[in-house]
Each structure stands twice: as C-alpha cells, then as structure tokens.
C-alpha cells in the first residue's frame, strides 16, 4: 500500500457549504493557498436546500452589522462569481396579526434606528395592503426591509465554489474528515483518503462542526435539526415580498415561476450520522393553516414537493464566528441556526480577513465559542 502524500496549504477549510465556499473564495483572493474538504458534495445540506431568503429583517441585533456587510456583498455577488445566483432584490416583510405584535415590531424598528440602522421600516395597514393586496384583512400591519431579497441556494453555493476554484482554491469532495491534530506548529487534517497540512484550520462544518470543535477541546453544543419546507404548484402572481409573521412560525415566498415556498422553522427528524433528514407532516398542519390564514388564496394551493435538510443550531440561536478559545490557528464559523444563508458572503469575507491579518474590523465578539465554555446550554 502506498502512503498518501501530504497536501500542504495556508488554510484548510472543513465544510463546503456557503460559509466554507465564501471563506475559500475571499481567502484565495487575498492570496492564500486554500483547501476545502467536503464530506459530501458542495452545498449538499443546509446551504443548497434552504428557502433561499436573503434577509436582514428581524435579525438579532448583534448580527445586524455583519448582516449589513453581507448584504453589500450580495448586491455585488453576481459580478463577483459570474453567475446571477437567482438573486433578486425584494422586500422582506414581517406581519403583525394583533396590535400587541405591531407595537413590539415598532419598538424594534425604533431601537434599530437608535443603533444607526434604518433598513427596517414600519408599514401601517394601508401601506401593507398596497404592497400585498392578497393579504388577509385581519393583518394589522408590519415591518419591512425593502432591499433584502432571495436567491437560489444551490445555484449560489455552486457558483461561489466555482469562483473559489478559479481563484486557486482546491475543493476536495466526498472526503470525510477523520481527525484534526496539531503536529509541530501545523494542523494535520486527515480524511479517509488524504492528509492535509496547514497553519490554519477553519471549521465550517455546520451541523457536523460540533464534533470537530469538541475533538479539539472546545465546548460546542451544536444541535442537528431538520427544518421543513413545502413547495406548491404554480399560482397566479400575488406576492412580491418574502413574508414572515411576528406571532407564528411562517416563512412564505412566491417564486418568479409562480410556485410558493412555505417554511418557517417547524422541524422534521434529523439524523446527521446518516446524513439524513425526514419530513414529519403532522408538524406542518399549523404551517399550512397559517399560510391560508395570511393569504386566503393559498386555500387553492397544491403541495407538489417538500424537503428538509440537516442544519446546525446553537442553544442561543446565534452562530459561532471567530477564533478558537483553545488553539492558535483554529477558527470557527458554524451553527447559523436556520438563518445563515444571507450571512455567507459577509462572514466569509470577515473570516478571510481575520485569518490573513489576525484581526477584523467587524464586531464578532458576541459570537465567540468561549460563551459556551462554562455554560453549554446558554440561551438568549
């Protein structure tokens, strides 16, 4: 048997999702020699099969600055990767069904304005009707972020991976990482096929990232979850915005071809050890009912497809972004908790900057993995 030779690089990225591919692209553009190791194929899990929302609206306040940075990159992404990624600018709107919900939404917008962010705006009932004529009469208003949007998730992740390759990154698919170890100042990452060596490792392994982080002595309580989505047959065009609801879990979007994607975070069964997720339809009864409550036209809709994918969720519902708490040259970007797609370009750029320069101008301290060290079940 011939021992496989070591593959050397400046940076080894574990995970070929949107975060791994974006980081690879930006790091390669900064001149680093980058290797991406993906146990399946690029965009196989949450990055390739999410609902495609490119959303700043309604984010946790600590995420807003990097989400803004990411949005600026989204506007340029088609030029950056030579592919339109199916990206379209569209309003994201969160609806209030009661006056109490409306008050909470208004407070949020006021708070954001106090922080210097004005992308979220309040819409009264009349304004909302004007934008969404098909919405149910009981909806009292909402807030919106007019220049958010949506994209085709696999098309996007695939295009970014190809750009990263053209920039010199090497992407190895169908190779599962077995071990990550420090060997005389360098990281050695071994898979079932090869051994890779580099001064820096970036863990972008999503639902599988906790295993890698914990093997290196970190506390990383990632839970594998399987958000479920439904797709309907084509309906006449009735909605230009991506819709969420303040008081009930629902995400709702009509695609340019007329089909409607209905999700909202209700969970199926995830089995990360087998790479599988499974739908649990009874869990979606309320999702179906909510969709019909909000848009009565949906009573005519027919579900033609559903899907779920394996995603990593943190107990406090915000990701882990930043350097390791235990090792030099180890970095993390995972656990995006069902809302990481929009953050991909921004966080990829930030990680590339952090690894290349040793520091970043962006506020990422709230996302440190150290927050779980003494409190693995931390919730916000």
């Amino acid at each position: 048997m011939i021992a496989s030779s070591k593959i050397s690089a400046d940076l080894i990225i574990i995970g070929g999702g949107i975060h791994g591919c974006c980081a690879a692209m930006f790091a390669a553009q900064r001149g680093m020699d980058v290797v991406v190791i993906e146990k399946d194929t690029v965009g196989r899990h949450a990055s390739g099969v999410n609902a495609g929302g490119v959303r700043r609206l309604g984010r946790d306040f600590v995420e807003v600055p990097i989400s803004q940075h990411s949005m600026d990159l989204w506007y340029k992404l088609s030029d950056l990767v030579d592919d339109d990624c199916g990206f379209q600018i569209a309003p994201q709107i969160r609806l209030a069904e009661t006056t109490e919900e409306m008050e909470r939404l208004k407070q949020r917008v006021t708070q954001l304005q106090g922080m210097g962010f004005d992308h979220e705006i309040v819409m009264d009932q009349a304004e909302l009707r004007r934008r969404l004529p098909a919405v149910s009469d009981h909806v009292v208003g909402g807030i919106g972020s007019l220049r958010d949007g949506f994209a085709q998730p696999y098309q996007t992740t695939f295009a970014i991976s190809r750009r990263a390759k053209r920039d010199g990154a090497r992407i190895f698919e169908n190779e599962a990482v077995r071990q990550v170890a420090k060997v005389s100042q360098l990281w050695e990452v071994s898979t079932d096929q090869n051994t890779y060596s580099a001064p820096n490792v970036l863990n972008c392994a999503g639902a599988w990232a906790g295993r890698i982080a914990e093997s290196l002595g970190e506390t990383a309580p990632v839970e594998a979850v399987a958000p479920m989505m439904l797709v309907t047959s084509r309906l006449p065009h009735f909605c230009d915005a991506v819709i969420g609801v303040a008081g009930r879990p629902l995400s709702f979007k009509q695609m340019p071809n007329g089909t409607v994607v209905v999700g909202g975070g209700r969970l199926g069964r995830a089995d990360p050890s087998k790479n599988l997720s499974e739908m649990i339809f009874p869990e979606l009864r309320l999702t179906a009912a909510t969709a019909m409550d909000i848009f009565p036209i949906m009573a005519k809709a027919t579900i033609v497809r559903s899907w779920s994918g394996v995603e990593g969720r943190m107990p406090d519902r915000i990701p882990v972004i930043g350097p390791s708490g235990t090792h030099k040259g180890l970095y993390h970007a995972f656990g995006f908790s069902l809302h990481g797609f929009q953050m991909g370009p921004g966080v990829g750029d930030i990680m590339a900057e952090l690894i290349a320069n040793g520091s970043t101008q962006w506020p990422i301290s709230a996302f440190s993995i150290e927050r779980f060290k003494d409190n693995p079940a931390e919730r916000r």
Partner: protein
C-alpha cells in the same frame, strides 16, 4: 367505502400499496394466513393498470381486451371474498421510516401504521424524449389503453410509434375495436433480433408469450395497418400541437399526419416508494432501468419493506402474482403464521414464466435516440429543461442528478421526476462517462402525489404514533 376517521384501519400486519396482480395475490395469500391486511389502491376498484376496471368490464369491451385481461377478474373476485380490507381511491403520499403511511382518500388524509409494507406499485412508461414530445396531442401507448379499459374510448386518429410488446397489444386491441391506428412506426433498431438470438432457448420455453406476440402482430397486419420498421430520427410535427410524425425508415423520410401521436419504449419500475424509503437500487443493463435490490422473497434493504411485481423489475402479470404470494408467505412465516402453500413451487413457476424475458429484453431495449436526446430536446417537461442545459450543468461540475436538480429544477415539478428521472441520469452518466450505479437517481421527496394545502391543514395523524 370507509368514510369516517374512527372506523378506518389504524394498524395492520401488512399494508399493500397497489392492487394489480402482485398486490391482489399478496393480499389473498396474507389474508388466508390470518394476517390483518390493508390494500391502499389509487384505482376505483382492484386490478391495477393491467386489469384496470376489470370488475366493470362489459362483454364487448372484454372481447376487445382479450382473455389475458379477463384473468384479472378471478383475482379481483378472490380479493373481494377475502378478509383483506381494500381501500379504493387511496393515494399513498408519504411513508415514514417507522412504516407509518400517510395517504389521501377523497380529499382527506389519514395515517396507517404497518408492521410490514409490500410495494406493488407496478410500472411507469419509459419517457420518449424525441423532438416535439411535449406538444399537446402527444400521448403514450399506455394512456391509449387506459382510455380503452376504463372508458371504452378508442383513439381514432393515432400513430403508434416506438417498440415493445405493449405497442402491439394496444394496436391489436384498437384494431379489434374497429379503429386501428393510422400507422405503426416501429423503432426496434436493425440487428436486434441477432442480439436476442443467444436467448432463443428461453424464448422457446416461454413460447406461449411468443405465440401471443406473433398473433398480435398478425392481427395488426390483418387490419391493413401500415407498418414502418427500423424507424429513426423521429420528430413530432406541428407548431403548437401535434399534427403528425416525421421519421426515417429504410433510408426514406416519411411525414404522416395524425391528431394523436402515441409513443412507447417499454415500461420501467415505478421507483417512487422504494426511492422515498432510500432502498438500495441497482442498474439493470438488460432492462435499462434501476431495480430495487431484493432477496428471493422480495425483501428490500429497508427493514420489513417488500416489493412484488413489475415495481421490482419487469416480469409481467403472471410473475407479479407469484411474487406477491411469495412475499406474503415470507411475511406470514415471520409473524409465525404457517401456510400450506410451498415457496419452492412458486419459485419454479417464476423461473418458467420468466424464461422469455432475456429474449424480449434484448429485442426491445430502447433505441439510442430515446436514451440520449439531442441538446435542444426538452427532457424535464414540468420545468422545461433541455438535454443541452443538463449537459452544460454537468460540464460546470454538477456531479449527479440531485445537483442538476438543485441547479436547474429538472425533476422539481409536479411529476417529481417520475417522467424524466432515468433520462436525466443517463445523460449525466454519458456526459461524465460514469456507470449508472455511480450516478444514481433523484432523491424522491414527499408528497409522492400532489396534496392540497387545505388537506394537510386538516390532516388526521395517528396520535403519538407519528412522533
């Protein structure tokens, strides 16, 4: 008809999906062994596609459809006399890994928890992606026969094009009904008979099938139907809808006018249920399709899930019934219910009935132009994706059907890839020069059939069993 939720079966030893020959025979055998059996069937009554509406058939229709069709009537009568619960108009739209079945009946969805599941879901017609095949007016030979069986309607202005035994059966049935097709455009490539010759011994053992086939061809000839052989370069004519067919036969180009063009390249196993459950499948080079991997009794790689009939590989109605009985005997044995019926006898019957298959498979393997359509031909008709777009996605680096599906949406439409699945996989395999087993197939997602959103909202799950 069981209407109310309370009286519906909630659990059973064996749930059988589909009431064709395999499903009916399996149900009768399992009920005899005192298993609790539920058949979930999309039809109005038992029979499946091959014996569709056999219980309703009138004598004139029986004369057209022939004695092999009427054999299904006996199986249906046995099923009706058994203790198996037959649920008509019941469409299975999902099965969980714990064998909890979600199904829809007349606008309401229910669940059924099964210890064992037998998928007896038969076949789908192989897609025929020739230029113009998505135009209105193009249909399949199988669809013509469904009209004949369930409504007694004979298409009066149709060209039948393609190859395979069903093509001749339907043409002869149309002739018997007094409306033979305008023409038969036969696409079996030259040299196929020589390729099939090594299997002639099996064909002689299965001479009953050969004799039947030859007599069908004679009947079609006797009706003075023009027959064009070795046809290639097929193209449906017409700007907005089919107005005819152009093709080359014996070195000459022909253009025939017709209101309907019915295409056919044989049938392949309906993969939706075995793929939904993630059963192992292998490519069958002779049948040019994926087949679920099973043992001799039909057990798949998925615990307690069996396949019988053409859904496991194309063997025909007689074998399907034998396989159904074998599967039920195995399940009865596992549940400790002995039966007098001997598996060895059924297996011998299978060997004898299947003897003709290698000959037919070699003779009627799909012609190359149906497997590798030219770049401008739409392959996924739901999302209107061409063969060229699929090749381009492969060239960009999309390695398999699921990446191509995510990228182009091919296979994401209402048919869920039932029509284009094999074509897409074959195009990728050819472009990458990789074998079909390494290329694989679309991941099949529920609902297997479209489901109203309002029906999901009012779904009746089985309490905690579903969690």
């Amino acid at each position: 008809m069981i209407r109310d939720y309370e009286n519906r079966p909630k659990t059973c030893d064996l749930a059988i999906i589909g009431a064709g020959p395999a499903g009916m025979a399996a149900a009768v055998t399992a009920a005899k062994a005192e298993l609790t059996v539920v058949i979930l069937d999309e039809g109005e009554g038992p029979g499946g596609q091959i014996y569709r509406d056999v219980e309703q058939s009138t004598p004139p229709r029986q004369r057209v459809l022939g004695p092999d069709y009427m054999a299904g009537g006996n199986l249906a009568a046995e099923l009706r006399a058994s203790d198996a619960i037959y649920l008509a108009r019941s469409t299975v739209w999902n099965i969980s890994t714990n064998r909890l079945i979600d199904y829809s009946c007349e606008g309401t969805s229910y669940q059924l928890q099964a210890k064992y599941i037998l998928a007896a879901t038969g076949t789908v017609e192989r897609a025929c992606p020739i230029p113009g095949w998505t135009k209105p007016g193009v249909t399949t030979v199988g669809a013509l026969q469904i009209l004949l069986k369930s409504a007694g309607i004979v298409e009066e202005n149709a060209i039948i094009a393609g190859s395979g035994p069903l093509l001749w059966l339907v043409a002869s049935q149309m002739a018997a009904a007094g409306s033979p097709p305008i023409a038969i455009v036969e696409t079996t490539p030259r040299g196929r008979f020589q390729a099939a010759l090594p299997h002639i011994l099996g064909a002689v053992r299965g001479h009953r099938y050969l004799r039947k086939g030859l007599s069908l061809i004679r009947k079609v000839r006797a009706a003075n139907v023009p027959i064009y052989t070795g046809a290639t370069e097929l193209e449906v004519l017409g700007e907005f809808e089919a107005t005819g067919l152009r093709f080359v036969s014996k070195g000459r180009q022909h253009s025939l006018s017709a209101r309907r063009v019915a295409l056919h390249q044989g049938v392949v196993p309906n993969p939706q249920i075995t793929r939904l459950l993630g059963c192992d499948h292998r490519w069958d080079k002779m049948q040019h399709c994926f087949r679920p991997v099973t043992n001799k009794r039909g057990l798949t790689s998925f615990e307690n899930v069996y396949v019988a009939g053409d859904g496991g590989g194309i063997m025909g109605a007689v074998s399907a019934a034998l396989q159904g009985r074998l599967a039920s005997l195995d399940i009865a044995r596992k549940l400790g219910k002995a039966l007098a019926d001997r598996p060895a006898r059924l297996e011998a019957g299978l060997t004898k009935d299947g003897a003709v298959r290698p000959f037919l498979e070699a003779l009627y393997a799909p012609a190359p132009e149906f497997i590798s359509p030219s770049d401008d031909v739409k392959v996924c008709r739901c999302e209107e994706i061409t063969a060229g777009a699929i090749r381009k996605a492969v060239d960009l680096g999309a390695p398999g059907p699921n990446q191509v599906k995510s990228y182009l949406r091919s296979g994401m439409g209402p048919c869920q890839g039932r029509v284009c699945g094999l074509v897409v996989a074959a195009i990728i395999a050819e472009r990458r020069d990789v074998c079909m087993d390494d290329i694989g197939y679309f991941r099949i997602r529920p609902p297997l059939k479209p489901l109203h959103l309002s029906e999901l909202a009012g779904f009746h799950p089985l309490g905690e069993l579903g969690q």
